[in-house]
């Protein structure tokens, strides 16, 4: 029985059935099937949400081992584990026990911890991108000159003082947005869509099995 359950055809079959369940009612509309497909998509979201503890378990595996072995910087692992477990407990959706996403301590940690750290992390990129700009914005040839020109014009447009003094920067930015940027985005979107369709068809036909790898067999 176990060897039968291990067969790779089972997940491939599940993939094909779930995929067709979504696609068929879209092209050949039949209300009961369409309703079922909608419900199945919601059902799938429940399955995905159930995977939530995978992150915590992986975190405990990695950082727990650090603490156990007293590896270098193990005390930072303790901080990580304490924060993860305490925030998860405070965020448990049990408002009747004073927990959950609307509780005082959850909002306290979210606003002063999560939000502050996320904003600081992304704003840090400003410094790294500036050093990237220093290297990328060099007119070594015509192509890099075009990157430099387009970049500088966009930066000038986004500086209110410059646009207030020289309004034509707004027109130039409009041209950059409406011509090369539009063309590039359109071409990339078409290319990406073609890639996505091909990947979907390959997966649907059972040719693409990369996502089923792992586990040593």
């Amino acid at each position: 029985m176990s060897s039968l359950l291990k067969r790779i055809e089972i997940p491939i079959f599940l993939t094909i059935v779930c995929c067709l369940l979504q696609v068929v009612p879209y092209y050949f509309y039949w209300k009961p099937l369409d309703d079922f497909a909608t419900r199945e998509a919601q059902w799938m979201n429940l399955i995905v949400a159930t995977a939530t503890f995978i992150g915590l378990i992986s975190l405990v595996q990695v950082h727990g081992a650090n603490v156990q072995k007293r590896s270098k910087g193990w005390y930072f692992s303790v901080v990580t584990l304490v924060c993860a477990v305490s925030f998860a407990i405070i965020g448990l959706p049990l408002p009747e026990y004073g927990l959950g996403s609307l509780s005082y301590w959850y909002l306290f940690l979210y606003n002063n911890g999560q939000v502050a750290l996320s904003q600081a992390q992304f704003s840090l990129l400003a410094f790294f991108m500036t050093s990237g700009v220093y290297r990328a914005f060099r007119a070594r040839n015509l192509e890099s000159g075009l990157v430099l020109g387009a970049g500088i014009l966009t930066v000038c447009y986004n500086a209110p003082a410059i646009v207030a003094t020289y309004p034509f920067f707004a027109d130039i930015r409009g041209l950059l947005n409406d011509i090369p940027n539009l063309a590039l985005n359109r071409a990339v979107t078409i290319g990406a869509a073609l890639g996505a369709i091909i990947l979907a068809v390959r997966t649907l036909l059972g040719i693409e099995r990369g996502y089923l790898r792992g586990g040593g067999d």
């Binding site: 790779i8 979504q22 405070i90 965020g91 996403s101 400003a126 966009t154 063309a183 590039l184």
Partner: protein, 241 residues
């Protein structure tokens, strides 16, 4: 005046913000603390968010009918199979929820991608008006877009010997110019997006409205402590070596 707990919260936010910023000096203990807290909070937030989603789903549609209740229980049972990935002997069970997720995802993508990303991009490209008698500039811009899109697509489609063909060299060059202009534009916008985030953080640290003014003294105190400890630690290590 704010209450003590709020003040502690402001000090924590300032400490974490500055802690992350200290990486600009070098790898240090303040950064590592902020990084560890960030990782922990992010994992905890994910769990809280997902569990809230499950509870909300149970409360609104899934607990209304017996069949739906069975469906909910079945989803949880199938979801538990995710954790089979941690045991090698039952790893194969982990593939079942994965297959359901991937299959449904592909199905949903197939019915939307073809229209929203593929046809909805090709349609305006075909409908481009290449000759507007009253607006020659717009005609020129439309002609440019009309040429740029296929040139960029051809640049990526033909690889290897396809590029050796003489007309393709012209197309390649034109496509590269288009891409460089587009990338420059996007890069300029991305840089400024990050700067506006940094300005937001700087305004918070300086206590500029609408941020709490108590953040400013917290900023001076914590920044001084961090600077003194970082420089002091460096001097101590230099003296020791």
């Amino acid at each position: 005046m704010v209450d003590t707990i709020t003040l502690i919260g402001i000090y924590i936010a300032v400490f974490l913000t500055l802690g992350l910023f200290t990486i600009l000096y070098k790898e240090n203990v303040w950064f590592r603390i902020a990084e560890a807290i960030y990782l922990g909070l992010a994992v905890g937030y994910g769990i809280a968010f997902d569990l809230k989603y499950l509870r909300d789903q149970w409360n609104s549609p899934w607990s209304k009918e017996p069949m739906l209740m069975v469906g909910f229980a079945l989803a949880i049972l199938v979801g538990i199979l995710w954790y089979a990935r941690f045991n090698r002997s039952v790893f194969y069970l982990y593939r079942w929820p994965l297959a359901i997720t991937v299959g449904t995802g592909i199905g949903m993508a197939l019915k939307t991608v073809i229209f929203s990303q593929f046809l909805d991009q090709i349609r305006p490209q075909i409908n481009l008006n290449l000759w507007l008698p009253n607006n020659p500039w717009q005609s020129l811009w439309n002609i440019l877009v009309f040429l740029m899109v296929p040139s960029v697509l051809l640049y990526f489609w033909f690889t290897g010997s396809g590029h050796e063909w003489a007309p393709m060299k012209v197309v390649d060059k034109f496509a590269r110019y288009t891409m460089m202009l587009g990338f420059g534009y996007m890069f300029g916008n991305a840089v400024l997006g990050r700067y506006s985030l940094f300005i937001g953080r700087a305004q918070f640290l300086l206590g500029i409205t609408p941020n709490p003014p108590e953040a400013q003294p917290a900023f001076w105190v914590i920044a001084a402590v961090m600077l003194i400890t970082l420089i002091g630690w460096d001097l101590y290590k230099r003296q020791k070596s």
